[in-house]
Amino acid sequence: MSEGFIRNVRVYLALQKIQWKEQLSYRASFVIYLVFFLLLALQNFVAITIIYGVSSGILGWSYYQMLALTSTATLLFCIIVYTVDPNWLVEELTKGSLDQHLARPVNTQLALLSRTGSKEVVSSVAGAIVILAYTLLHLSFTPLEFAGFVLLFLTGLFTLLSVWLLIIVGSYHLFKKGGFLYTMQGIFQTSGQYPIGLFGIFGGLVLTLVFPVALATNYPVAVLTGQLSPASYLGMLALAIVIMVLAYKGTGELMKRYVSGGG
């Protein structure tokens, strides 16, 4: 078990290293990308600042609480964009160019997550962390609440990655196309940036159970703002793990039907 885990991590890191080397072979363009993506991290900061400049805010959330939520969502989606490019992955599956990687003795889903993704978005990740750190300085919380925030965020991140992979592989099976996944990603990114209460009961359920972006944004931030009781916290953590396992199994089942060479 642990041997298999170590092998998987080793292969994943080796593939990441190759991707980084590929990216760094074009140093000038990589630097341009870094600067551009750093600016992108500021986008939501600007939007929230303008909204709070012309209004009294959203659903009683203070400016810094709102900023904590948007920067958490930005960080989350930057990590997802770093890890996987949905359209590219669907194309790789369709064309069969992943076959040689899938034949390796590593976890199939890890192999799927090792090949695409924009490495240059790392500057956005850094930017989002800086904005989040700045925001957290203006909020008061205990070290335990912060630890709870980090744990729920990371669990939510892995849950979302599992669900996202299920959707991507599902799109390959259903449409053989993945262009619309960018639009879908944008929708979930935007919805994760705002309080879940805005979207009503139905919207809230979708964002918690179907595409659980709220498990990595709204609920972790609610820990920092003292809006989530310990019992609810444990419930959300358990829910995230259940969804992660279900999505993982679902993707595994779909990948069993993958035909070498794209089908």
């Binding site: 992108l40 600007v46 909204i51 359209n87 924009s118 240059e120 449409f175 929708i187």
Partner: protein, 264 residues
Amino acid sequence: MANGYLAVFKISFKEFLSYKSSAALTAALTLVYPLLLVFVWKAVYASTGGATIGGLTLNQMYVYFFFNVVGLLVAESFIVWQMRDCVKEGCLASDLARPVAYPKFIFATALSQPVFNIVFAGIPLVALLIVATGITVTPLTLAMFALALCVDYAIANLFSFIFGTLTIYLTDVSGLFNAFLGMATLLGGGVMPLLLFPAWAQHVLYLLPFQFIVFVPSAVMTGLITAQAFLGFMAVGAAWIAALLVVAWLLWKKARVMINAVGV
């Protein structure tokens, strides 16, 4: 020669229709985005308590965001993705060997997406929005809206072509182009009307090309732009189209010599 491009468009449109479920899903998902912003702004207005924010009523805000969709549907362009794939796979060289000019060929191919979007989503949506929102629409408003969408299409596709051409130098511009789209959405009024930005920022944003992708078409239908002011916007739009054409032409002229049979 024009028949050649028409044939290219017809083939591309048929090919596009073969993936109609994916295309329809993209168009449907595009509708969800303004719906999210409607929820957000409804809450902002409720918290603020005033009838207007930045001179806009909540109803105007709804109209604005829903007409944003039409602008986005027209602006959708797969030129950059097609060029990226061709550069990676080396098919650009064979495309260059065709008896048609490559830039015109790729524009004719990419026309299928906005045509599909306009016919199957844009026109029904505009009709539905006019009836549902009860806005007053004169023939002049519709003419201005149509013209604004033409400028929207030209600017979005020229940017797409420029980024597609950059692929020849950078190998893959997917991340960069997506980042550009995110930036253009904010600076072009996709998150909030430009009227809500600070005055100094508005002066700058009204000179940039991004406003033509969402702000100008939506603002025309929302009644935020008068016929007189519209002429000024179109003058800026025309200048941007001319500038982007020159950039696209120069870039393509320089980049095409780097292409060989196996890509770049």
